[in-house]
Symmetry: C2
Subunit: 373 residues, 2 copies
Amino acid sequence: MPHPTDVLDRFYSVIPAGGIGSRLWPLSRADAPKFLHDLTGSGQTLLRDTWDRLAPLSGDQRIMVVTGRAHRAAVETQLPELADHNVVLESEPRESTAAIGLAAAILNKREPGVIIGSFAADHVIQSAPLFRHAVREAVVAADAGYIVTIGIRPTEPAIGFGYIKCGSALPIDGARDALAVTSFVEKPNLATAKRYLSNGHYLWNAGMFIARADRLLEEIGASEPEMLAGLLELAEAWDTPARGAVVDQVWPKLKKIAIDYSVAEPVAARGQLAVIPGEFGWDDVGDFASVAKLHSGGRKRDLAIVGENARVLADSSSGIVVSSTQRMIALVGVENIVVVDTPDALLVTTSANAQKVKSVVDALKLSGSSDVL
Amino acid sequence: MPHPTDVLDRFYSVIPAGGIGSRLWPLSRADAPKFLHDLTGSGQTLLRDTWDRLAPLSGDQRIMVVTGRAHRAAVETQLPELADHNVVLESEPRESTAAIGLAAAILNKREPGVIIGSFAADHVIQSAPLFRHAVREAVVAADAGYIVTIGIRPTEPAIGFGYIKCGSALPIDGARDALAVTSFVEKPNLATAKRYLSNGHYLWNAGMFIARADRLLEEIGASEPEMLAGLLELAEAWDTPARGAVVDQVWPKLKKIAIDYSVAEPVAARGQLAVIPGEFGWDDVGDFASVAKLHSGGRKRDLAIVGENARVLADSSSGIVVSSTQRMIALVGVENIVVVDTPDALLVTTSANAQKVKSVVDALKLSGSSDVL
């Protein structure tokens, strides 16, 4: 059995920092995506929180960030420790297989045998120590050749997440919690979610993947051989003067496909996917109802107020106010309300409708109101 | 019987333009009271609407406006025809007996035998011709010595208005609709309001009073002799160089009392109050639910949008958006919502809670947030 510390020496964190977070409009925008906001009241952005969680595992010098060119400056401001060679800029978004696959290809070329773990820049985790405990087990399982995910033990019958169905325990030294993944299932309806919760063999899919970079590339190649060829071509040129030309030529042609489909599902079908159950408190903060829940500590009758300079006057109202202005916001007798106040756009909805906010963004695009997107 | 035209020659309109309209905060403010807003979508302010309704009755030169010093410029901008000697400025608000009483005293000194009619600057009337028809009858009844009000035939069991209980017909030539007022009753609960509606003998109190100025002063003197003395002292000095000094000395000491209590109720108790029923469509636009109703034409499922440059994107939401900004306002799945968006303050409530908006203003005062009042 390898000593976990030795294995961690080969570990590299990858943070894909993409995704505007349309359901968090008008707070999240093209030029101010979700990961650049403080949605938890921690006093720092979700991206910075993510960094601070990972740095004790891999060290500052071993965290790679994959982000859009437009966000480079903001990312570097948030992460002054981020090394130049650990910034991977996408000329345009190509989905998670390309983003994580490129990181894997670059790192594997630089350091054969490297183990990478990919963690979204805009999720919330309550207990960083418990999270790191799970990652350590995942790294050990990855070193044994598995593609590994960390699944979240459900605390409620959530319908906004996909689920991972777990099978039997895997005999991996140093990863005693590891289970085989039977399958991935899409977001369920409420009745199904309740069944999953009581069944006990279902975990939330938090989109965390840990694998030896060479194994991950192998699996990408198994399902998407053209993608693999492109990624290897990019990696070959990456640390050379040819990078720009090759990126311009190869990147825009890469297939847009989520890593769940290209890797996780086919690997799970072959019984090669391991999952480490996590109970560290996780949320993808996908909509304002989720933001409200984070701030109210789960109490439904509360009004959560987010925003440094927020001026709010409310009576018996409940829900959430997010303010990035200094306007006086008065609420009178509104329940489970969501009010998001920004200098050029205002959203009013309810917790129950929070998921539909994405449709507003779609409608604004169609109506040519891109000034507020 | 005097010819109505002759009587109208002695008629003078008085428009008390005071009252911020706290239940319409944050649209109505100390420096932008309700009467300076276009709440009907007519394209002009309520004050201007009021003037245009009255000018055909009394003529431009016979309309007096009683308003606060702070509103002088705005009032004169709205009413360029308003003669200087028809502007009565209150150094501080002293309620309706003082405001209307002062107008009566000034006009009666200038023109003994004048008949005055007082009509709020911030009410909405649908049919100006029917309104003027009712006023003409009221003027005739006033000439016969009655204190006269115009009561509104209820169209629903409103709980936001006071009611007038009508008695028997009064034998006044030229005012065949005139009834004696039995009593005034305060805002009822819903059950009582329904009873009033089906009973048929109750009208809404719209605060319109028509009387010979000398009769009105006599009645003020009967219940508030000190007030009458003060008003006569003011009127004596009004058109002389002594006005300023006398106003400074007398006005601040006048009792604050609504004319309903000082005149209307005691006169009604003596059977000396006449009412002309009006069916011209009236609303005091007291809150945003009322504004919404005006704009939706009574349809409950509509979303009313008020504001010249309003940018609103809404799905199935209903209620009202009032915007004095150019911000994008997105509503998702909110019902009977009230959103009032101004540059420095935002209100979110529901139609059912619209009356409670006044409590916000009270709370803002208490909390020292006078910048948004």
